[in-house]
Subunit: 1003 residues, 2 copies
């Protein structure tokens, strides 16, 4: 059959299908019901939809009437919102919480939403589920059951999840005999070949430590817990399908499927399936590879093809990480891919059975007709529909295709809310087939159009890409590393090997464009193995500082006179050098300061970002700004460098913070003396390489590692230093400020100090927080890079109402982390930076034992940890603001848990420190989020996100109070600090004649 | 005759006129000549025109070939310019100065421009002038002679100018008999009634101290020197016409005319004329009043009506000062006014003779026909044309009207350059009748259209005014006071009387919204008369500081939470209060610190500007800025107040600087403790009144005058002070910085210091400077408010080549200034602020005598100065950078003159100080101006303008090095210093669902 004929048949089949179900609407759109009215409203009102879906999300967490009423008021009684009439009565802005009517209304709303949720769920317990499944089977529908709930934050939870699945299988096994096979040919199987019991599993939750970086560990971890479940399924003669979640887990899931399918004990058993998502651009290739694998292995498999339900997530994440968007951005492209991939599977029907999971009538018709055209036996494909969705479709399907399986979620609403929101989103999406066919009554011909043609048309209609921006183009963050790519995973061990192959590095100073060697040398070692010395770093004394200052003074005038655009060029070239050498530069950090792969890469990306951003900022600020518009005068507001900068950098973001401060000073026209931390001077030397590669004039950048005790005060107090950019401890910062405030003899300017200092950052866990995220983000914020970030969370303030739910999960999550050397990608926490840090932190661990109750104190144990600077991951509860543990910056993996009576007290605790750097709040109460915005005193506040990981430009970073006296790094005001503004006013009128400027305000 | 008929006749007459001169072009447009070609080019190329006119302006100052060649290269050899072919040959970007060809070309260019200049001048000496006049008379033209040169900077120069006029009259008297009367009826007079000799005088130069503020003094000063000239004119039976210059002098000139005309010795003599300018909106009324006066006094007069030649100047000045534009902005409106006013004069021909001075054929035709229609005798009106312009018109006029007088400038090119540039401008203006009729050959009908109709049409075609801007509208500077208005001149004595009528003022502290009285009281006296005690000011001790801090702490949270727009409202209301009470507030300054009227008003205007500008700035900065465009997150960059501010203010801009610092602190959300200077606490108390009137919440603004020795360190070091805004001396500034850098016990934030300190500002006088302006601006910058401004010029660096031309003029200018109490508007310099300042400055005067040669040392002498804190106005030469006089801030009227070998050394001298506040350069060398932009190290650099008088927003003010550590006041970065930036990052994705923000970058 040729393409045109097939297309005609598809459209004919579709029309027939539509006609058979005409006049029927999916139950959710039944406008007689509350749900139908509200869904209808939300499709017309984006703001209401956002509030509704967010409320749906938080609803299961609202355990008291008060809390429920308050949230309803916060979400829906705001003046900005148009409410649907069914929700309006009883809701007024003021005083709702206190009124009986309000309370009743609140209960009604929550009851209705629960009802809406239950519509998509086959049962909240096994009894109910089995009963409903029986009813469905009576109507002629097969089922696959899915246990609601996705995230697990600890191994205990993953273990529990496995157990739940085993228990479910037991319950189903018990009921199994009640299920009469459908269309049985006497096989005891549905439709003569399919097991009656069918289980769908979302794999990631089976191993809480799944992460792309640790591919093999993740596959293993998942396998270990999924195998027992599958074993049980096989034992009862059931079928299992491994669902596909977000792209993060895709390759791991595929590998997991292969291992399960190919395992000796399971090779004989054909009923294992895997899901592919048509919206992913990579699916054509993934499915082709899978079919080849199945054929090569001679293992029959099942593929369930879906459109994909994480479109927002994939798009947002890609955009946030700087990756190419992995999903199709035109809906018809996904539909076309669905048809294309399903045809590919049908062409291999002998080895692969197809489950077509779609509510799209066109798609269904296409699969039917294609299968027929290819003469695929009916037993080799079936149709699947979600329980509670698109009822007319499932009815129609049963009539024409017979083999319809319903995907039946089962379990509590609380873990199922993510599922519910996805379903609501699907139902209300502008482009959703569901909405178009049943809600909008759109034109049938259009709905049945060949999606490939529609996609083509839409692509053509889209505006062509923006004009090529003038170099250097708008700022974009350097992409985060994507460890789902094998090349990313392989790059790190290779780079580590390369760096180690260098052997011991001799690191000289770099002054006036030339290396300088001294007699004072400091070793730099690997904190994971103090026996591994990486570099011998030459140390500057005051003589070398003098020499570097001479070089800086010599070039000061010409560098100041270098046009801003040219100065910016050097930064861009340095950035290019870093990008080209990113893995080697990362590897140095892994070895010298013990950064995990992702953390090291984030540091490099930030360094590149600083260079790229400040270069552009200088272009912006370098352009003189005309002030006023009076004719006859031109006033130009401009900036000039302050002079010569001393940059004193820390070791914890050893390249990023150094690059930021140095790059800012240089691009604004200030020659620099850069003193890296003694603990990360090898990393710091990377700047010498980058700026040399950029061709920076000699003397503009001088690398002067040295002992603070020897040359610190001398450098800071020197008359020729105009500006000190410092990041480090409060103690050193205050010393610098005091020193800089008193002019040295012969000093010609008041010194400017830019100091970023400590933090004592808190995360507040509100009583309605989404705990899956809250636990994971708290763990990451507190223990990422061993808590050695100024932004690290060192206090988690938990509301009493949620304390007993949150803290045990947190503790279990901490117990599940893998600890050990950073170079092993499985390890989440490694050594602290040196022996001194180890000692200081151990003292705080000791103090924690005294001041509170230690909940977790996990010391990395293995052989590979023997020679490292390790400290235990520590969680301590019973801490109040009076404790030293709640006040002092520990700079290590010690997390204090504070219990707060209510949100007021939580804010009070959070603010009870002299630092004001970062903070986070996990809450789904709009009012509490509003209060946090206004009252949580920190420089970087994160709502429903962890407290670390600020990105250049997107989250300009820095605090106030005792956390710093600089304006935020990576932000629009940062460069101003390195310059003095000046104004040139020209009287342009001569002899009564004034030339006309473009923006003059003449008359 | 009705209007239509008249109009028809005018057009017919105009056509006839045009036809009679068709085919003729004014000599300047003769394209065969160099001038014609260059003029043609400049009309097509605005950039070239600007460079050409500027070069014309500087040309007379170029005394050496080297200088000439260099300037030609700088003006014309830049790569940006298209040159006319006649100038191109020999001019290349590089190396012109060294090439013989270049030198020849330079000479050719300068010779051609000189020739162009001479075209408009009847002679450069008396002999030449008389010869040319004779020739003109032979051709049938009468003349009026005008001595070139306008500005005088000293009484010596004014005296010399009078003498030049007397000499000219002598020379003319000698030649007089050679002039045969034109159209003589035997009377010996031209046309039977007009004197053969006719003199035009520009009056302002006859009294160098003419200023609108001192109306009576100015009229007297002018009268004293013009009367002798007029006497001589009368004696020889000549006529004199008083020219009208810029609007500044208009009313003074009118009054001067009336006094001369009405003086007993001159009443009998009818040949005195005055000029009115048709482009001024006020001319209808001025002429009507003048005619009434003449009729009332029964004194025949002559009015010369011109269009007006200062259009750019009047427009620019009005725009810069914030005044309504006084001239018509549509060219046809001026033409219509010319016809209207001339008709009014012709209607009064019996008492007033009309001289119609226009090159516009339509205008001429209108006057002819109107006169005829009104039956005005021919002897009662004549026509005037400028010498060297519009030759065809003058020829045609002579034919049809007979009575044509040529306006003949006479004298050196150097003083005549302003005249030349005005003529070139007139010839090349887009809307010029000259250009249209002779250069563009535009449509005759259009040229002869009734200008009233044309104006009507153009007004209708103009876009209607901008949409009403949303409150509070864009920032506009408060208008400068316009002392040409009698009400402005009268307001000051009235306000002084009102303030004095109050008697001794009791000034309490103001804390937490209530007055507070203490036992420690300090008197504030009038520095012009130390016996006049103005106020008893209660002084704060540490107890009052504690009390004020309590009040500030109490309101800190609520003030911070007050929305920015609301905080801005309070500032706008305070500004409204100041505007409503501006004269009384000025009067307090005149009395308490000895400010001249204009200086006091400028201080008030600046105070109002600060409030208005910072209010708007806060609206701008108060709006959260979204960072990044990644979907699923919203990052808002915002600012929060630092805490509580101590504002420590100086006495020299007692209201403006206080208001700026206090207003900035308040509007950014910081409660304030304001310590005014002890020398200006009564002025400072004006802030209490303004903020009380604005309804500012209690505790936000606290007024705590006090003795620094008692409470200064306590205030600065207090743990609750987050921010110190200081303006004052370097010594005190450094003390504050050192104190603030060390945290007090319990202090929760690092203190921010914003300090504006001293200056040692220089003005460079280049060898090609326009000296009229340079002298006047140097005098104003050095001695305005007795030199007690941080921006005051205390060093004038004069290039050797111009030293002997500049310094004597400067010295004479200083000798011409009137000194004495500031409340007398005639006085330019008054007392210094107190006895201590007097003593300190006297020591510097003593030092000046030792270190250099004192050129001027003028002590105010009169009776009214006996009890004041006076110091001499001092100018000292022979100063080099090593001298203390060249290094220390004197803060008084002591000006050091430094001689520099060349521009390099001038810049070196200028930069040889640790201050970097203001500076100015008078130069007409584009390259030197460029170098000054790059190398003159000051916060505010002024090119061809004095070094004082920065305006809010237009010239953000402040310096660097030891001049300050703050960003510029009244500028876009100023408020940032009072706030900490913070970022709130919200993860907006929940359950895979992200709402869409407007500027998301999805796909």
């Amino acid at each position: 059959m040729d393409k045109t004929q097939l297309e005609q048949r598809i459209v004919a089949r579709g029309r027939e299908f539509f006609q058979s179900i005409s006049g029927e609407a999916p139950s959710i759109f039944n406008k007689g019901w509350w749900t139908g009215k509200v869904m209808d409203w939300s499709m017309k009102n984006e703001d209401f939809k956002v509030r509704l879906f967010r409320f749906v999300d938080v609803l299961p967490a609202l355990s008291t009437t008060e809390s429920l009423t308050r949230h309803i008021e916060e979400y829906f009684a705001s003046d900005s919102g148009d409410l649907p009439p069914v929700m309006k009565a009883g809701l007024t802005t003021a005083g709702l919480a206190g009124k009986l009517g309000g309370k009743l209304m609140a209960k009604a709303i929550s009851a209705n939403i629960e009802k809406m949720g239950r519509q998509f769920i086959v049962g909240q317990d096994a009894r109910e589920a089995v009963k409903n499944i029986q009813r469905l089977r009576k109507d002629g529908f097969a089922f696959t059951i899915d246990l609601l709930g996705e995230a697990t934050v600890s191994e205990a939870e993953s273990e529990a999840r496995m157990q739940e699945h085993l228990d479910l299988m037991d319950a189903v096994a018990e009921a199994k005999d009640k299920f009469k096979p459908l269309g049985d040919g006497g096989s005891g199987l549905d439709w003569g070949g399919e097991p009656v019991v069918n289980l769908s599993v979302k794999p990631s939750a089976f191993y809480s430590q799944t992460k792309a970086r640790d591919f093999e560990g993740s596959v293993q971890g998942l396998y270990n817990r999924l195998a027992p479940v599958y074993r049980k399924v096989v034992q009862m003669g059931g079928a299992m399908c491994i669902d596909m979640e977000s792209l993060d887990y895709k390759d791991i899931t595929i590998e997991l499927f292969k291992r399960l399918r190919g395992a000796d004990e399971f090779r004989h058993y054909p009923h294992l399936g895997i899901v592919f998502q048509a919206y992913l651009k990579c699916t054509d290739q993934d499915v082709a590879e899978m079919l080849t694998w199945a054929r090569t292995q001679n293992l029959p498999i099942t593929i369930r093809l879906v459109k994909g339900a994480y479109w927002d997530h994939e798009t947002v994440r890609a955009k946030q990480m700087g990756w190419e968007v992995p999903v199709y951005t035109i809906k018809a492209e996904s539909d076309a891919a669905f048809e294309r991939v399903s045809r590919h599977v049908l062409e291999n029907a002998d080895i692969c059975r197809l489950c077509c999971a779609s509510h799209n009538v066109r798609t269904i018709a296409a699969v039917m007709e294609t299968a027929q055209a290819l003469n695929v036996p009916e037993s080799r494909y079936e149709f699947q529909v979600l329980y509670g969705m698109a009822e007319p479709v499932r009815k129609g399907l049963r009539k024409v295709a017979g083999r319809v399986r319903l995907y039946c979620p089962y379990g509590d609403l609380i873990p199922g809310m993510a599922y519910l929101v996805r379903r609501l989103l699907e139902n209300t999406a502008n482009e959703s087939f569901l909405r178009q066919s049943f809600a909008d009554e759109a034109d049938m011909a259009r709905l049945l159009e060949d999606p490939a043609a529609a996609a083509e048309r839409e692509r053509a209609a889209r505006p062509v890409g923006r004009e090529a921006a003038p170099a250097p183009g708008p700022f974009e963050n350097h992409p985060m590393i994507d460890f789902t790519l094998p090349e990313a995973r392989e790059a790190f061990p290779q780079a580590l090997a390369r760096v180690r192959a260098h052997g011991l590095r001799e690191v000289p100073l770099f002054i006036g464009g030339a290396p300088v060697y001294t007699n004072d040398v400091l070793d730099s070692y690997n904190p994971a193995d103090t026996g591994e010395v990486l570099a011998r770093v030459h140390q500057a004394g005051t003589a070398e500082i003098d020499r570097a200052l001479e070089a800086a003074v010599a070039v000061r005038g010409s560098w100041r006179a270098t046009p801003p655009a040219e100065r910016a060029e050097y930064l861009l070239r340095a950035a290019a050098h870093m990008r080209a050498n990113i893995h080697d530069l990362c590897a140095v950090q892994v070895l010298e300061v013990g950064k995990q792969w992702d953390q090291a890469h984030a540091d490099l990306a930030e360094a590149v970002d600083f260079l790229e951003y400040y270069a552009r900022e200088m272009l912006r600020l370098g352009a003189p700004r005309r002030m006023g518009r009076a004719p006859g005068e031109v006033n130009l507001y401009q900036y000039r460098p302050k002079g010569i900068a001393a940059v004193i950098a820390p070791w914890n973001f050893p390249l990023a913070i150094s690059t930021g401060m140095v790059g800012a000073a240089i691009v604004t026209g200030n020659p620099v003396l850069y003193k890296p931390s003694g603990l990360s001077s090898l990393v710091g030397h990377g700047l010498v390489e980058a700026f040399s590669a950029a061709g920076l004039p000699a003397g503009v950048f001088n690398f002067v590692p040295g002992r603070s005790s020897v040359m610190g005060d001398y450098l800071v107090g020197h008359k020729d230093i105009s500006l000190i950019a410092f990041t480090g401890s409060l103690e050193v910062g205050l010393r610098i400020m005091a020193k800089a405030a008193v002019p040295a003899p012969g000093q010609l300017q008041c010194k400017k100090v830019i100091a970023e200092m400590g933090g004592k950052n808190a995360i507040i866990i509100d009583d309605d927080a989404e705990l899956d995220e809250a636990v994971q983000q708290t763990v990451y914020s507190a223990f990422g890079f061993q808590g050695q970030k100024c932004s690290a969370c060192s206090r988690v303030i938990v509301l009493d109402a949620v304390y007993d739910r949150f803290v045990p999960r947190l503790v279990e999550a901490c117990r599940s982390l893998r600890l050990g050397p950073a170079e092993n990608p499985a390890n989440v926490m490694g050594p602290v930076v040196d022996r001194a840090a180890q000692k200081s932190i151990m003292a705080y661990v000791e103090l924690a034992r005294k001041e509170g109750r230690v909940l977790v104190e996990r010391m990395p144990g293995g052989q590979d940890c023997a020679a490292g600077c390790y400290v235990p991951l520590t969680v301590v509860e019973g801490i109040t603001p009076e404790h030293r543990i709640a006040q002092e910056e520990i700079f290590g993996p010690v997390l204090a848990v504070m219990r707060a009576a209510d949100f007021d007290q939580a804010l009070e605790y959070a603010n009870s420190t002299r630092f004001a750097l970062t903070g986070a709040v996990f809450s789904r109460s709009p009012r509490h989020l509003e209060r946090a915005r206004a009252e949580f005193n920190v420089g970087n506040l994160y709502l429903n996100r962890g407290s670390t990981g600020a990105l250049v430009e997107r989250q300009p970073f820095g605090g106030f109070n005792m956390s710093g006296i600089g304006s935020k790094t990576g932000g629009p005001d940062y460069l101003l600090q390195f310059m003095d503004p000046y104004v040139v006013t020209e009287n342009t009128m001569r002899r009564g004649f004034a030339p006309i400027e473009e923006d003059d305000d003449w008359v």
